[in-house]
Symmetry: C2
Subunit: 451 residues, 2 copies
């Protein structure tokens, strides 16, 4: 028979079993951590009606979208989890209780030009809190705690949550009568890290036609940095010149004030006035998270406060705050950087049982007992040589091999080999299970990411 | 602004938060149970190249498939998890260790005519063991144990795992010189439950042209039933007439023999000679699982042994055995039948904290402490009346509400109300956490399905 060459589409991540286990572990930690903050899991279709998904229309998004006909229906694959959330909240408004807190970890699709580290199918892990009409600033203050706990639970240590407030930015540009030009200015300021202060000043005055005075004010503003208290006190000097600015400053102070009670160490958090995050959508606190040893990756968890989640579907005012992790890309980068902890078990089983007798009953019964105790067991009953079976455990990294021969069965013990140390015990079933579980606990104690 | 009416496509399940929690719980139990048997989680793309996905070609599948162009690429959404597994194993053959045991819970797509209880996007939960060249019968014998543990862990009690062996069927029809007609005969026999013995006999003789003798042999064969031992001894009477039959009988006896050691009670298992499961694919043991109180649903977990997983992609002989649960349909049916346990918590949080003071620090710090202890907490700091906040907890089914006023804070206690009993305690933080955790343990003890 002619064979079809098997292949996986470029830009679509497909992991081998061991890295897949690491990915599953990360997802599990995200689910657990998000749950601790009262977010409920949500799952929406991957396919939506195009007119619903593209209600906002325009932009880069539309070009990248996977859109197709099926019968009479014009369908599209979702390109993010925010638009489906907006649809969900508008559609199920009467069945939901607000504030509505949901997390969703799901695949999204963008037909980008395929290149190394860019994905066309990728997981996003989003959380959002949606209010009905109003939403307390406390929700914005809580987000750094969620980011901190999430990355800490993954094992990351050297990361920084950078926070700004769009009201401060917009208020500041209003002070300078630059409201109309604010977008261009922010786009330029955003390049600060790359091109430096002088070039930013040159673009502001020469290309954007700002006065030298305006440019200086901007540069002095975005240069404000230091510890949180110092930044806030420098911002205090602008108070009273614009009500929006003053409101933003109050909000920022609330966010900073509660960090300690939320368990976020000061060194993991920084006010950063250069962060803007998108130009129309966000209206309050905005967040970015960078890995201190890998700034080149950019932000690994971003988001912010917005005023109108579902304006394309409903007249209801639904403000919210949310953050998103580009999980597939993050996983890819962690792998590239060698940051995935190889010590954590990735084997499909904790124990491989090798029956050494014709009658398999004793081996099967012991496998059942181990499973009743929550131990992951594989019985190896294939026609293979003993050595091949040991090598099977070795290749897969299965930590324990149990041998059950006539002698063991009649003595009521199990021979159990620790594949890492080579140590072999002959203990009764209960003691063997106890030993295995203690060993597994120790092995699973590490973090999925090497700090 | 003109609004786009929000809607979700027909045939695409989108759950409200409470049922979604139940669905997540079911998936978690499946993941845990499958893992106990040494299956590793796998995740493959939803989108594949059409020529890869449709390598087998033809049939109903191709009509139902979601297929589309993106640029030059001819793409399709996967319609099951078996074809992607075949591709995966053929593609990554050199990186895998055999036997290869994987589970996958993922969405698949079929553009069926939309009707109540039929889905176009639905989850399948599959496990498969793939051998390289050979695969021990023990893998077939283990499957009933996996089905039994899975459904028991979900809370189901009254279900029956029905098992047959295709070698027995094919051997039997060879005895009657009906190998060529076996497919038609089996299709007729399959209607036994619906139309009864007499009509089956009529079709066999009148429509299919079988002799009265052949029809009688068939009817007598498929009428074999009773306890496992009785069925096996009746089958023994056919031994020696066809080698394939004899081999199938040996296999069936091995499967039955180990049920006890695998922890499967006799009453949950039955040999059923009327089961065939598809006509070409399966070659050995086949499985169906029925809910005894809802036979109308049909099989909720089916599968079997096959000889050639990836024949469209590789010359390698890759035999396997697998089962599949149509998870979305099962969940839908369980909901329809009122079988989802409403006692299990579906709230997004375990505790709602209502700060009663201007300064939120104490409330936030207690929330952080609860979260450090694995308790899911939501702070409610919105501008709402006290009564509205209590009603919020009530609507969402949040089991505990904690009040922190001046008195509590200065006394170093937390007022905590059990929303179900109305009982209120004022205890120090540690004791409050202890009480909450004990209460949650009790609440979470139930099964997701009402037996």
């Amino acid at each position: 028979m002619a064979k079809q060459t098997p292949r996986t589409l470029s830009g679509f991540m497909e992991l081998l079993p061991a890295p897949q286990r690491q990915m599953e572990r990360i997802m599990e930690i995200l689910r657990e951590t998000y749950s601790l903050y009262g977010f409920t899991p949500l799952d929406t279709p991957v396919v939506e009606a195009s007119e619903v998904l593209l209600a906002k229309g325009g932009g880069e998004t539309e070009k990248q979208i996977y859109r197709f006909q099926k019968g009479d229906a014009d369908l599209s694959l979702r390109f993010d989890l925010t638009v489906p959330l907006a649809k969900y909240v508008a559609l199920h408004y009467n069945d939901l209780t607000f504030p509505f807190r949901r997390f969703q970890i799901g695949k999204v699709y963008r037909g980008e030009r395929a290149q190394r580290g860019r994905f066309r199918e990728f997981y996003q892990a989003d959380i959002d809190v949606i209010g009905d009409g109003k939403l307390s600033i406390l929700n914005e203050a809580e987000i750094p705690a969620i980011i901190y706990r999430t990355f800490s639970a993954l094992g990351l240590k050297r990361f920084l949550i950078r926070v700004n407030n769009r009201k401060i930015l917009n208020g500041f540009y209003a002070m300078l009568n630059l409201t109309e030009r604010a977008q261009d200015v922010m786009r330029t300021v955003d390049k600060l890290d790359k091109i430096g202060l002088e070039k930013v000043e040159a673009i502001l005055t020469r290309d954007l036609g700002l006065s030298r005075e305006q440019a200086r004010e901007i540069l002095s503003f975005i240069s404000i940095n230091g510890e949180n208290a110092a930044v806030l006190s420098q911002l205090e000097e602008y108070r009273g010149r614009n009500p929006l600015f003053d409101q933003g400053l109050e909000e920022l102070k609330t966010v900073v004030k509660h960090l300690g009670a939320f368990g976020v160490p000061a060194e993991s958090f920084a006010v950063d006035l250069t962060i803007a995050r998108g130009l129309d959508y966000y209206t309050g606190t905005v967040y970015e998270t960078v890995l201190l040893d890998h700034p080149e990756i950019g932000s690994v968890c971003s988001g912010g406060r917005y005023d109108n989640l579902a304006e394309y579907y409903t007249d209801k005012q639904l403000p919210g705050v949310g953050i998103s992790i580009g999980l597939t890309r993050l996983f890819y980068v962690l792998g590239e950087q060698g940051m995935l902890n190889p010590e954590l078990p990735t084997a499909p089983a904790d124990v491989l049982i090798l029956p050494m007798t014709e009658d398999l009953s004793a081996a099967i019964a012991f496998a059942t007992e181990l499973r009743d105790n929550g131990v992951r067991v594989q019985l190896h009953c294939e026609e293979k040589k003993f050595k091949q079976k040991i090598s099977y455990a070795d290749k897969l990294g299965i930590p324990y091999v149990v041998f059950l021969g006539e002698d063991e069965i009649s003595a009521g013990v199990a021979a159990c080999k620790d594949m890492q140390t080579g140590e072999q015990t002959k203990l009764d079933p209960k003691a063997t299970i106890y030993r295995i579980k203690a060993g597994l606990d120790a092995r699973n104690r590490g973090f999925v990411i090497k700090g």
